[in-house]
């Protein structure tokens, strides 16, 4: 009887409605299997097979892949020799031959829409401060973000968020979060302004901008790749090379400048001009290219750009030069940043710790709820109070998670702290409600009045808490925004949704 009465109360229906919405937002899928491809290396056989990022690998060499562990197990068992690989993804089946590193990065498949922040999922977070002598406009920042995004995308990193943040003093920052990228890669890709210059002597032939560089050959083995590897002192050296097409203006400049140069006669058949074409990236020399005699004074639009890669072993040198090539191609294709940027904060978190944190957090939440139940149980000794309380606490957590999933907020550790803190205020409010309605003055006031009185206290405390949290939305370049958001959402949904429903449950159960 009581149950029926409770469920058909509009406050409880309101709560159920929110729970349903949260469930839809979270969309839990605990039985999801497989691993998601996050990055595919340049020139790998996997790339040639046409596997794309975002595909879910379900089977590898006839072995079922349910999680990351399964995947690393089969990868570790792969032989270094050329061998047959069979991959079944959610899109297609692939069978091919491969030797050495497969060149594929994966992550575990998402089991819900709840997005994990950097410190729970692993990855790299960078806070950039644009630097300029002039006033930095919003347009500058928008352009900067656009170019950074394109750069990272062209490079092959797609699982990322870039956003502008401001602090309390109005300083502008850009925060970049990337999962599954190494610190070094990110540093090179985003903190480099990417001012590319090709010079002969002091004269600039062309710059890495759209006006000068019309086309860059990328991902095409016929005009781009690592050409040569050899042993040097202390390791190996590889050389990459790729073709670019210059604009007519740049080609004219090339002709003008080379016209003035002399020819060095080497006596070995091929003669070169007496000055080299020096390639600079952000003012440091990448490579110096010999210019062959027949290019003297010619308007050529086809130029080969090259550069080195080093490593302790040949494989390392090869990998390094592919990485360098990819970076240079990316910069030439996308152009330089409109502003110089400084890395003011850089975090690289290993994914290993993240999964331990999550396990731990769930345990901690359960233990904390249990201890609240214990205290409340000792004080009231009444199941009719304890059960609604547990339902309310769990609902509050669920609604916060639902909201976070809905606005695609990445939950990090401080956001979790915010959840626990706001649920803590929930306990406070429930005790206030319980005491208010079960007090000695039962006879004096009716239920409605009692609940109203409880909610007066709750609302004042609510407004004070929200007011105290507001500065955090902006302070510290938004690094604590997660804490502020989960706390504000938690106490708001608590005060307006779950705690009113709690009062209904209590009212009907205790009456």
């Amino acid at each position: 009887m009581e149950i029926k009465k409770i469920i058909w109360n509009w406050k409880v229906l309101f709560l159920l409605f929110f729970l349903l919405i949260s469930l839809l937002a979270i969309k839990p899928n605990p039985f999801a299997k497989g691993v998601v491809v996050t990055k595919i290396s340049e020139g790998s056989s996997v790339q040639l097979q046409g596997i794309k990022t975002g595909e879910i690998i379900l089977e590898f060499n006839k072995q079922k892949i349910t999680n990351l562990d399964d995947y690393s197990k089969v990868i570790n068992e792969l032989s270094k020799e050329e061998s047959k690989i069979e991959i079944v993804t959610n899109k297609n089946n692939y069978i091919f031959l491969n030797s050495g590193n497969l060149g594929i990065n994966v992550k575990s498949v998402e089991k819900s829409n709840i997005q994990k922040g950097l410190d729970l999922a692993g990855g790299t977070r960078v806070l950039l401060e644009p630097v300029s002598d002039k006033e930095i406009s919003d347009q500058d920042i928008t352009n900067l973000i656009q170019i950074l995004k394109t750069r990272l995308d062209v490079y092959g990193l797609s699982d990322l968020t870039i956003a502008e943040t401001k602090d309390l003093f109005g300083n502008k920052y850009i925060s970049v979060e990337i999962s599954g990228a190494s610190e070094e890669e990110v540093q090179e890709l985003i903190a480099k302004q990417g001012k590319f210059e090709a010079k002969i002597g002091d004269e600039v032939v062309f710059r890495g901008e759209k006006e000068d560089v019309r086309r860059v050959c990328k991902d095409d083995g016929t005009c781009s790749g690592v050409r040569d590897c050899y042993k040097v002192d202390g390791g190996y050296n590889c050389k990459f090379e790729f073709a670019i097409t210059l604009s007519n203006d740049a080609a004219k400049r090339h002709a003008e400048i080379t016209k003035k140069l002399d020819v060095n006669v080497s006596g070995q058949g091929s003669n070169y001009l007496d000055k080299k074409l020096d390639l600079f990236l952000d003012s440091s020399l990448v490579d110096s290219l010999l210019i062959s005699e027949d290019l003297k004074g010619r308007e050529t639009t086809d130029i080969a750009v090259s550069g080195p890669g080093f490593g302790n072993s040949e494989a390392e040198a090869l990998e390094d030069s592919i990485k360098n090539m990819n970076k240079l191609q990316t910069i030439l294709m996308v152009g330089s940043l409109p502003l110089d940027v400084n890395i003011v904060k850089m975090d690289t978190i290993s994914p290993v710790l993240g999964s331990e944190f999550i396990k731990n957090i769930i345990q901690v939440c359960l233990i904390a709820i249990l201890s609240v139940v214990l205290v409340v149980g000792i004080r009231y000794r009444n199941v009719k109070i304890i059960i609604p309380m547990i339902i309310t606490l769990l609902s509050e957590i669920f609604i916060i998670l639902g909201f976070a999933a809905f606005i695609k907020w990445r939950l990090d550790l401080v956001a979790i702290a915010g959840i626990i803190a706001s649920v803590g205020t929930g306990v406070d409010d429930q005790i206030i409600i319980t005491d208010e309605v079960s007090g000695k003055e039962k006879a004096v006031y009716n239920w409605k009045e009692k609940i109203k009185r409880a909610f007066f206290i709750i609302l004042v405390a609510y407004f004070a808490t929200v007011a105290a949290m507001l500065p955090l939305m902006w302070a510290g370049a938004g690094l604590l925004k997660g804490f502020a958001i989960t706390t504000i959402v938690g106490v708001t949904s608590g005060v307006f949704v779950t705690r009113p429903a709690f009062s209904v449950m209590i009212e009907n159960l205790l009456k």
């Binding site: 890395i343 690289t348 978190i349 331990e356 901690v364 709820i369 004042v460 405390a461 500065p471 804490f483």
Partner: protein, 300 residues
């Protein structure tokens, strides 16, 4: 039990004016302590890397190492650098999962190299996390966080004054929150806890928690008419104590069992603050409010 309780409230009833001296002394003592800390250390808190710039490195290393030895090794190797090394262990078991190093004086690459040599392992993105904060950013974070606390406090005070529209009770609530923060800060300094951005978030949260009980008390005592002032006071005390204890126990348990230093810091600060809050709410705010209510009721 009931007898004892009455005696307690009789005492309260008779001595509330004198009792008020105790929290005032504690508050002054806390301020002196913080001032002294400021004189010695040049700041009111021990700042973590996130507020002063530097690096935090986490290494996942299952073998038990001597943290002190490692710390001394690093200090020696980098010419008396300011290094702070802690062990990282997992929940329930004493199993070591790794260690955390904080420093403002060592470059990330050099530290990594030194660790690789010392432990003879290779550090990569599977077993190694690094967080780096530029020193100018750290400083500006710190400044901003102080502003955030200040704003938060003012906003809260505004809400309280608008709600109650009575100077003395509102002032008592705001003073209580202020005393609570100051004493918590003094205790945090005393136990040598380092504070980062998340620690400051905890102080902000504390503002919210701290006034919960004060608002409960003030509402019950001033806005209700049934029973005597002391009866309403007792009722509020029972409710307030229950909710403080529930929160303190829940957060203490969370503090003990969490393996994240970020969460540990937040929970510890709130727990210290809540304990201080029990004292300030029921002695400082309580006595002031009681005084005010008695005066209003009896006109003396």
């Amino acid at each position: 039990m009931e007898e004892k309780q009455s005696k307690f409230w009789d005492f309260y009833n008779k001595n509330y004016k004198k009792l008020l001296i105790i929290p005032m002394i504690v508050l002054i003592l806390s301020i002196v302590l913080i001032y002294n800390f400021y004189r010695v250390n040049g700041d009111i808190i021990h700042k973590e890397v996130s507020l002063k710039g530097g690096i935090t490195v986490t290494v996942y290393y299952k073998e038990r190492i001597d943290v002190n030895e490692l710390n001394n090794f690093l200090i020696e190797r980098f010419n008396n650098a300011d290094v702070n090394t802690r062990l990282l262990s997992s929940l329930g078991t004493s199993e070591v999962t790794g260690f955390i190093i904080e420093t403002s004086d060592i470059k990330p690459d050099e530290l990594k190299k030194a660790l690789e040599e010392k432990l003879s392992i290779k550090l990569n993105d599977k077993n190694y996390s690094i967080e780096e904060v530029g020193s100018s950013l750290g400083e500006s974070f710190y400044k901003e966080m102080l502003y955030a606390v200040l704003f938060a406090f003012l906003f809260m005070a505004l809400v309280v004054f608008i709600t109650f529209r009575l100077f003395v009770p509102s002032f008592a609530i705001v003073l209580c929150a202020f005393s609570d923060i100051v004493t918590t800060l003094a205790i945090v300094d005393l136990i040598g806890l380092r504070i980062g951005t998340s620690g400051i978030a905890a102080f902000l949260m504390l503002i919210g928690y701290s006034i919960d009980t004060d608002i409960l008390l003030t509402t019950r005592v001033l806005k209700r008419k049934e029973g005597s002032v002391i009866d309403r006071f007792r009722g509020a005390f029972k409710t307030g104590l229950t909710l403080s204890i529930a929160t303190i126990i829940a957060l203490s348990v969370a503090f003990i069992f969490t393996n994240s230093i970020v969460l540990k810091q937040i929970f510890l600060i709130i727990v210290i603050g809540l304990i201080a809050d029990i004292f300030y709410t029921w002695v400082q705010n309580g006595c002031m409010l009681y005084w005010y209510a008695m005066k209003k009721e009896h006109g003396n």
